[in-house]
């Protein structure tokens, strides 16, 4: 069963307008929040155990408390770049309930005492962009954005910034660079954004879903929020189910939900005559799970970690037995090769190298030695770079090689049908 804490009203068309949103209790939590001390909200979010929904899963309240305790200007940035392949939950939130995001950002901005915030939205999300623009306008007219919001002493300005389609601008410091008008490249850390971020000022970057989850936490309290999900992974998470299932889509589930239930009960299972081969549980960046591993896992941070993978962004990609794993990996690596910003040598060169090697594998031109080589290249790209894109390319490479060695070997030059001089048909050119 879904647990619709955030998405309860998403089926209502009017929910995307100010009026419709307010009808369902919209902006009541903001009113309520403005009566509290900012620090109280930060504490509440800390207590709730909310972890970042953008991919890294960092505890949100803890991140907020990294801000320096002074009167310095600070910024809140909403990460709506949603570039992770297999992830489309933020898009739904913004299209179905733009005001929910705005309310959530106002509450969060109040909590961290930011006078200005930006929504950095993915360039391809035209519909969400236009809806948000309209919603911002409505909110401004209503006095929800601007000076003395709801007659409180809190004033806030909010703007939206349309990206240009680079995946790397979803990385928080890449996003900051882009917002500053620079080339979208991650920045060296330290200093961390909470200390020196946008324009050199303390900055908090949070994912759309993370921010939206702040509303129920403030509304019902951390305790009520912790009733949902597991002890260590409280709350709900929206999973984007895609791939070889009958009912792909977004599903809001309590954390700890069974992966099989998501795939078979909610997702309707495989096409007739097909069986499950593998699942990528958290967006293309995380290590893949074999069908066997997937069977026993639950969707929460800890369970997935135990299997050596991550909850990531919650993009669950299901692969059935019709899929060629080397092809899939080749597509994934092509993506990271294309998207690497190119600053760090291991990532710049490694992503290209891996992608070339996988093309070779898919063409049936590789030899046994490449099995080790691919893993070695990937291993040495991990934990060595400015941002995690390098790791994001390495993790699938290693896990696919380890878990699907048989499929790699089927592609070897010596094992392919050599009547056509060893050239195996590749499903993607």
């Amino acid at each position: 069963m879904e647990h619709k804490l955030l998405t309860e009203h998403y089926h209502r068309k009017s929910y995307s307008t100010l009026e419709g949103y307010k009808e369902r209790g919209g902006y009541q939590t903001l009113r309520h929040a403005l009566l509290k001390k900012p620090q109280e909200i930060v504490e509440e979010v800390k207590l709730s155990g909310l972890r970042g929904r953008g991919g890294a899963g960092f505890p949100t309240g803890v991140k907020w408390s990294f801000l320096p305790n002074n009167k310095e200007d600070r910024y809140l940035l909403c990460n709506a770049d949603e570039g992770e392949p297999g992830t489309f939950k933020d898009r739904m939130i913004m299209e179905k309930a733009p005001h929910q995001l705005i309310e959530a950002m106002l509450i969060s901005a109040y909590a961290i005492q930011a006078k200005k915030s930006y929504i950095y939205i993915r360039g391809e999300y035209q519909k969400a962009y236009l809806l948000l623009l309209k919603a911002l306008e409505e909110a401004r007219i209503e006095g929800l954005i601007g000076k003395n919001i709801l007659d409180s002493s809190f004033s806030h300005e909010m703007d939206i910034y349309l990206g240009a389609g680079a995946y790397i601008c979803g990385e928080e410091t890449g996003m900051i660079s882009s917002l500053e008008g620079k080339k979208g490249q991650p920045k060296l850390k330290p200093p961390f954004p909470a200390v020196q971020g946008y324009l050199g000022k303390p900055t908090i970057v949070n994912n759309v879903e993370t921010l939206v989850a702040v509303i129920p936490i403030v509304k019902q309290g951390a305790k009520a929020y912790r009733q949902i999900g597991t002890e260590r992974s409280p709350g709900t998470k929206i999973f984007s189910l895609s791939g070889d299932v009958l009912n792909p889509g977004n599903y809001e589930l309590p954390l700890g939900y069974s992966l099989m239930d998501l795939i078979y009960d909610l997702g309707g299972g495989m096409r007739a005559g097909h069986s499950l081969k593998a699942v990528i549980p958290g967006g293309s960046s995380v290590p893949i799970l074999t069908a066997k591993e997937a069977e026993r896992t639950r969707l929460d941070y800890e369970s997935l970690n135990e299997l050596g993978t991550f909850l990531g962004s919650g993009g669950v990609i299901v692969l059935d037995d019709s899929r060629d794993m080397m092809d899939i990996l080749s597509i994934i690596l092509d993506f990271y090769h294309h998207e690497s910003c190119g600053q760090c040598t291991p990532c710049r060169e490694g992503t290209g190298w891996l992608s070339k090697l996988l093309k070779k594998v898919c063409k049936g031109m590789s030899s046994q030695r490449d099995w080790i080589l691919i893993q070695k290249i990937a291993e040495n790209m991990q934990g060595r770079t400015i941002c995690a894109l390098s790791d994001a390319a390495a993790m699938p490479a290693i896990s696919f090689m380890k878990k699907f060695r048989n499929e790699f070997e089927q592609c070897l030059y010596e094992n392919t049908n050599s009547s056509v001089k060893g050239v195996k048909e590749s499903k993607h050119a």
Partner: protein, 502 residues
């Protein structure tokens, strides 16, 4: 307030560093070897090459030394297998798409990619895929050529133009392994400090047109010197061989020029070109300039000088020792200063100063009553013999023609210069004497802020050239012999030095 000192251990050696120092600075202080490309002591930290990996006790993940600050009691090492593997792979990534042009690359022999690969690399590349092709021989302006295939994208050059000159000509275009360094449109890399980017480029991606393909660096010897281009007096390295000087590079001096020098100063050595230089003394008759040995010329000058008061025109291009000996032997003479005050733009806030002489400071100190050239104009008919200690760097004397005309009006004249002064009228009792350049003599210059810096003779390029000290000896003693130094003039093996590159 002096910064607090903290202690740490680098590869087992204890050291104290200032609070806020990075680990790589501690490595450098201890002379411990560490592989790195993007870090440069004169630039901000970019942390992109990922080679300066170190292991910090108590931290599982390797860290980069260039962006990690030393903490009290920290124990750091780059000796473990874990670090070595990381560095080996780091180098492998650098090399997989590198064209390995070494045989035709100008950087060979002083290439950090070569050096560090020999020291830290794995020798046996695992790359057998096709390399990324990029553009070669891109013209970045009047001075510099770029080979984007050789570039390892360390961003040193970009940071230099952003942070030091603040001229922002360079950027990285495209991304991933398609990234390329380039100039922004209509913004060639022509600023007066541009060639510093060639120096700091760890590979042969940026090469300077004036040095490209001239010499293999392992055929060159290196000496230390001081630039005579302005009163900053930047510290330099001079790369030379018996064919001549080929290149001048900045030498780090925190007090004077930091890591850099300007291109104007860097090119001064080109006037040392043997074809331009005056290699014997000249004596005028009413039609021609005749060559003669310097010693013979001075015998004639000596007779001209007898019982007369010589007048001297001085420029700020001589050493302290030269001014001192002159003053000692000619204390009763009349001195004029040929200065360029007001001729050049004010200090550029980096290095190049308005005063384009290395030693105006001492000149003014030792000759406090020195007269302006307007006085010479008035006295010109009463001057029995005028010595003009002309400038070494004529390019900073745009009024050469005008002033030479003035000097030409005296009865007899001795002009000291590096090259022949073509504006000097040809008239009896006029001499031109070849002077020793600052590369050929020993002495001291005092820069704008009073810092005394010594130059050493690097090599003699002209056995007939003299310094002021030689002149005094030639005039005041009977048997002084110019040292018969072996001069360079060996035939250039490769290219003619002003041949075009393309």
């Amino acid at each position: 307030m002096p910064k607090k000192k903290i202690s740490c251990q680098i590869n087992g050696h204890s050291i104290q560093v200032e609070e806020g120092s990075t680990i790589i600075q501690a490595f450098k202080k201890l002379n411990q070897r560490i592989c790195h490309y993007c870090w440069h002591p004169g630039l901000s930290v970019s942390g992109v090459c990922r080679l300066c990996m170190v292991e910090i006790e108590g931290q599982g993940k390797l860290q980069i030394a260039c962006n990690t600050q030393v903490q009290e009691g920290m124990k750091v090492s780059n000796q473990s297998e874990k670090v070595k593997t990381a560095v080996r792979w780091g180098l492998e990534y650098h090399l997989i798409n590198h064209p390995l042009d070494c045989p035709i690359c100008d950087q060979a022999g002083e290439c950090e990619l070569q050096d560090q690969y020999m020291e830290f690399g794995s020798y046996d590349s695992s790359m057998s895929e096709r390399k990324v092709k990029k553009r070669k021989v891109l013209d970045l302006g009047s001075k510099i050529v770029l080979d984007t295939e050789r570039c390892i994208l360390c961003t040193r050059c970009v940071r230099f133009t952003d942070e030091v000159t603040k001229t922002h000509e360079l950027g990285i275009f495209n991304r991933g392994d398609r990234s390329e360094i380039g100039c922004f449109e209509d913004k060639p890399l022509n600023n007066n400090y541009a060639i510093n980017t060639v120096d700091i480029c760890p590979v042969g991606a940026l090469t300077s047109k004036h040095f490209r393909f001239k010499q293999r660096v392992w055929y060159l010897k290196t000496a230390q010197s001081i630039c005579t281009g302005c009163s900053t007096a930047c510290n330099t390295y001079v790369d030379y061989n018996e064919e001549g000087i080929w290149r001048v590079r900045p030498r780090f001096n925190k007090e004077v020029n930091g890591h850099w020098m300007c291109d104007k100063g860097r090119f001064l050595f080109q006037d040392m070109d043997r074809k331009k230089r005056l290699h014997m003394a000249l004596e005028a008759n009413d039609k021609f300039w005749n060559f003669l040995e310097t010693k013979v010329a001075f015998e004639k000058i000596k007779t001209l000088l007898e019982n007369k008061t010589a007048h001297f025109v001085l420029t700020g291009q001589y050493t302290n020792e030269e001014y001192e000996i002159l003053l000692k032997h000619f204390s009763n003479s009349v001195f004029y200063i040929w200065s360029q005050e007001g001729q050049f733009p004010k200090f550029d806030k980096l290095l190049l100063r308005e005063d384009r002489n290395p030693n105006t400071k001492t000149l003014k100190k030792l000759f406090p009553k020195i007269k302006p050239l307007t006085k010479l104009e008035k006295n010109k008919n009463e001057i029995p013999l005028l010595f003009v200690l002309g400038p070494e760097n004529l390019i900073f004397y745009p009024d050469l023609e005008e002033k030479t005309k003035l000097f030409s009006q005296v009865k007899s004249l001795v002009w000291l210069g590096l090259v022949k002064n073509k504006f000097l009228v040809c008239k009896e009792n006029f001499f031109q004497i070849p002077m020793k350049s600052s590369f050929e003599k020993t002495g001291t210059f005092t820069n704008y802020k009073g810092l005394e810096q010594k130059i050493d003779k690097i090599q003699s390029f002209n056995s007939q050239a003299v310094s002021v000290e030689d002149i005094i000896k030639l005039l005041k003693t009977d048997n002084f012999k110019l040292k018969e130094d072996r001069a360079y003039f060996k035939q250039n093996q490769f290219l003619n030095s002003n041949q075009k590159i393309w």
